[in-house]
């Protein structure tokens, strides 16, 4: 066992009691608790983003409506997009990374538990900072991709764009810290015998996602920094009157932005690849093809960014290149879809709630994928760009794709996380409301889009004939809202029941089902060894049936990382720097100096913290 030496070293450690109370959550470094924090926070932001969407739908339900004024409308669609991408889907994926990766690879925690807590706190503070803009009536209003020169001081003199810029920079720090952590965790903390090609597909897709985060986020960081210099210190990077180039922003943004869409969808692919085999009672079809198609998608993801920019007139050579590379992505994505169907083919399908959502995901994602291939043709894209056709497309891949898959994952892993099964009847009601509401909201957008209804315009004249379909869309959006209220009711209702979920309620294949639900703080009493894919199915096959319910151990002798509040202090320092930059016209440079000092104060206390740092104990060396 890999921990023998360490276990002996800490043989004096007492049994671990369950820690409770607010302080235990503030100082937690347990990947499972951090996962739950990510999930709860992201779900809150998801509801907020949904509320923004409903306001937009109310405004669009009638022609020539003035329920919202154009300025508020701009703020709402910008915050809806920004919130759903950075504060809902990405952190919901992070919830699963946090909770599942260590369990699936047979580890006690992530490689850097305090860095993990730091990522969460930075994410939370960044999300609050972004949304604090509403309190000042100055929410970001230039779209989630903030095209220059809408974002220049000249055309956006208020703090709206600054909230967006600083908020995204803070959130980028959280994503990068988490990506380093999970990359190292997956490479280094796998249980003995778990080779790369034996990793669960969710871990594989998460691994690829971390690489995308590591390579794509620095690009947007630089773009946001350049914009910050333009707005605060008078450079002209994106200002044509000073020699700058607004199109450069689009290139930088989409070099980040296209990998970003795979950051949003690859974890969803991973979740579905775990759910489908279990409810088809068959191993995942074409494991290696799934891995390599994921890698291929990520690789191509860096070579297609300009398909977002066909209408800027890049010329035939660039258009051809980006059109072809975009079409190529349909191949590995098609491979995945056929493999999912192949997994279900001739399986003994069990239609439990997670399976409903997983199958719904495949169907909805295919529709989104097909309209995506349509935009890869520049002449078609010229017609579709900036219309509701695009809005329909990306909601089919992000809602029909990511959200359906994340919901499947929520129902699938809920018993593991909370020790309670969600109600099947309410779950299926949630599914049908979501499927009907989703299609009623977004399918008509294809038609109004092709008929010329522009996105991001606060109203439309009655004569254009868009009103009937828009009314249907608004009805659909409210059905979607009800669907998630049903989910919330399901959560509340089942949370009153005793924790009696079995360790392995779905007859799962991966390691997390071998330990109690919810798992003890130390995850595994003994770290597992792995000798194949679907390790738990292999154990059950050899045994000839279900495993006995695992006993909850005492955790005696297992070393766990100490709670720490320094990640939170350091996260406050990071956020304070961006607040200070935003306030620098008023506070001057001293605010930045104070914020940087706070960051270093947190960092040094973190690095030399007792119980963690080897420098806090006397050296055993000869000095």
């Amino acid at each position: 066992m890999a921990t023998t030496a360490l276990d002996q070293h800490h043989a004096h450690a007492a049994a671990h009691g369950e820690k409770t109370g607010l302080w235990s959550w503030i100082t937690t470094v347990d990947h499972k608790r951090i996962g739950i924090l990510y999930g709860a926070t992201a779900f809150f932001f998801f509801l907020l983003g949904g509320l923004e969407a409903l306001l937009i739908r109310v405004q669009l339900s009638r022609a020539d409506n003035n329920f919202l004024d154009p300025d508020t409308y701009n703020q709402l669609f910008t915050m809806h997009g920004t919130t759903m991408i950075f504060l809902a889907i990405m952190p919901l994926s992070s919830m699963f990374f946090n909770y599942l990766i260590p369990l699936m690879i047979g580890a006690r925690d992530v490689a850097f538990p305090r860095l993990n807590a730091f990522s969460y706190w930075v994410f939370l503070l960044g999300g609050l900072f972004l949304n604090a803009s509403f309190l000042f009536g100055a929410a970001p209003d230039s779209g989630w991709y903030g095209y220059a020169n809408l974002t220049s001081r000249q055309f956006s003199p208020g703090p709206n764009v600054d909230f967006w810029n600083m908020g995204l920079q803070v959130l980028g720090v959280a994503s990068l810290a988490a990506a380093v952590n999970f990359f190292v965790t997956i490479v280094n903390l796998r249980a003995p015998g778990m080779t790369m090609m034996r990793m669960p597909m969710f871990v594989w897709m998460s691994f690829i996602t971390q690489i995308l985060l590591l390579l794509a986020f620095p690009v947007i960081a630089v773009a946001l920094i350049l914009l910050m210099f333009d707005r605060f210190w008078g450079t002209h990077f994106f200002v044509p009157t000073g020699g700058g180039d607004p199109l450069l922003w689009q290139h930088f943004f989409w070099i980040f932005g296209h990998p970003e869409v795979y950051i949003l969808i690859l974890p969803a692919f991973g979740i579905v690849s775990e759910v489908l085999p279990v409810f088809s009672r068959k191993p995942l079809f074409g494991y290696a093809a799934m891995v390599f198609s994921g890698i291929f998608i990520a690789f191509l993801g860096f070579g297609v960014w300009s398909h977002h920019m066909f209408t800027t007139g890049m010329g035939p050579i660039a258009d051809t290149f980006f059109s072809l590379s975009t079409m190529l992505i349909a191949i590995p994505t098609g491979v995945k879809i056929f493999n999912w169907i192949g997994t279900m083919w001739a399986g003994s399908l069990q239609f439990r709630t997670p399976m409903y959502f997983a199958v719904g995901f495949i169907a909805m994602f295919i529709i989104g994928g097909l309209s995506g291939v349509m935009h890869s043709s520049p002449p078609a894209d010229l017609q579709q760009n900036d219309t509701y056709f695009i809005v329909a497309h990306f909601h089919y891949v992000l809602f029909g794709g990511s959200i359906f898959a994340l919901t499947a994952g929520a129902y699938y892993w809920w018993p593991k996380m909370f020790g309670r099964m969600l109600d099947e009847g309410l779950g299926k009601l949630h599914f049908w409301l979501m499927l009907i509401g989703f299609n009623l909201t977004f399918f008509p957008m294809h038609f109004v889009g092709l008929n010329g209804m522009p996105r991001r315009t606060y109203t439309y004249p009655k004569e254009l004939g868009f009103e009937a379909l828009n009314q249907a869309e608004t009805v659909g959006a409210f059905i979607l809202g009800v669907a998630f209220l049903v989910f919330l009711w399901n959560v509340v209702k089942t949370s009153r029941q005793p924790r009696r979920a079995l360790a392995d309620p779905w007859n799962g294949a991966t390691l997390e089902w071998a330990i109690p639900s919810p798992p003890p703080e130390w995850n595994f009493d003994r770290l597992p060894t792995v000798d194949g894919r679907d390790p738990l199915w292999e154990v059950k096959r050899q045994r000839g049936g279900q495993l006995p319910e695992p006993e909850v151990g005492t955790g005696a002798g297992i070393h766990l990382p100490n709670p720490s509040y320094w990640p939170l202090i350091t996260a406050i320092g990071v956020t304070a720097i961006f607040v200070a930059i935003m306030m620098s016209p008023k506070w001057g440079a001293w605010g930045i100096v104070v914020a940087v000092s706070l960051l270093f104060f947190g960092l040094y206390n973190w690095l030399f913290e007792k119980g963690y740092s080897e420098f806090s104990t006397p050296s055993q060396g000869g000095h």
Binding site: R114, L115, V180, V219, V222, I225, F237, G242, F615
Partner: protein, 207 residues
């Protein structure tokens, strides 16, 4: 300086902290790639001088002015920064062998080079501002200050990191079994040097 994981035997046998630094450096490559691209894209897009390599006419006075870049001082800074990569390797060698004298001398030399480089950059920036090159003046000023400024910030962070190691070494807290802490700082330091190997020709040598 680490979390508990390094104490475990890892799957690959690599120290998790070292792997984390390598991962971070991979990410930083994209950061500087974007900054350097920004510099190259904006090269020659100046509406007004000063220029890096060509003489320019001051619109206020009508005088023809010299190109603004002065290569000799920067070359010296570059040379010292590159030598400091060798010095930090020697310091690490000393740390791993438990040779404290060697560790302190070479780490001190590394720090001297790093501080000289930052000082050189402060002098250069002040000199440029006095000659009329600012962030706001033209695209060269904007992209030059942002690119070299972010590199300088990285050097400064490296100096603070190495100085912390120096302090620990003086206190006798950097025995061979903890030398990986210096190795991580050294990896970062090498990266900062390698980035400058790209920036120096791009900004100072290519016309």
């Amino acid at each position: 300086m680490s979390d508990h994981a390094h104490a475990l035997e890892t799957y690959t046998g690599l120290d998790s902290r070292k792997l984390a630094i390598w991962t971070f450096i991979g990410s930083e490559c994209m950061f500087f790639a974007t900054l350097i691209s920004n510099y190259l894209v904006n090269k020659g897009r100046n509406l007004v001088g000063p220029f890096a390599h060509e003489p320019w006419t001051d619109p206020a006075t009508g005088q023809v002015m010299e190109p603004i870049i002065e290569i000799p001082l920067v070359t010296l800074g570059t040379a010292l920064l590159l030598f400091s990569s060798l010095f930090v390797v020697l310091a690490l060698y000393g740390a791993q062998r438990g040779n404290r004298r060697m560790l302190l001398i070479w780490l001190g030399a590394t720090l001297f080079c790093g501080i000289f480089f930052v000082g050189m950059q402060v002098y250069e920036f002040t000199h440029f501002v006095n000659k009329g090159l600012t962030l706001q003046r033209n695209m060269f000023g904007a992209s030059f200050f942002v690119l070299t400024g972010f590199h300088g910030t990285h050097v400064t962070i490296g100096v603070i990191w190495l100085a912390t190691m120096f302090y620990l070494a003086v206190r006798g807290k950097l025995p061979p079994e903890r030398s990986v802490n210096l190795e991580m700082a050294a990896l970062y330091w090498h990266f900062v040097d390698v980035v400058w190997i790209v920036i120096f020709p791009v900004v100072y040598l290519i016309r």
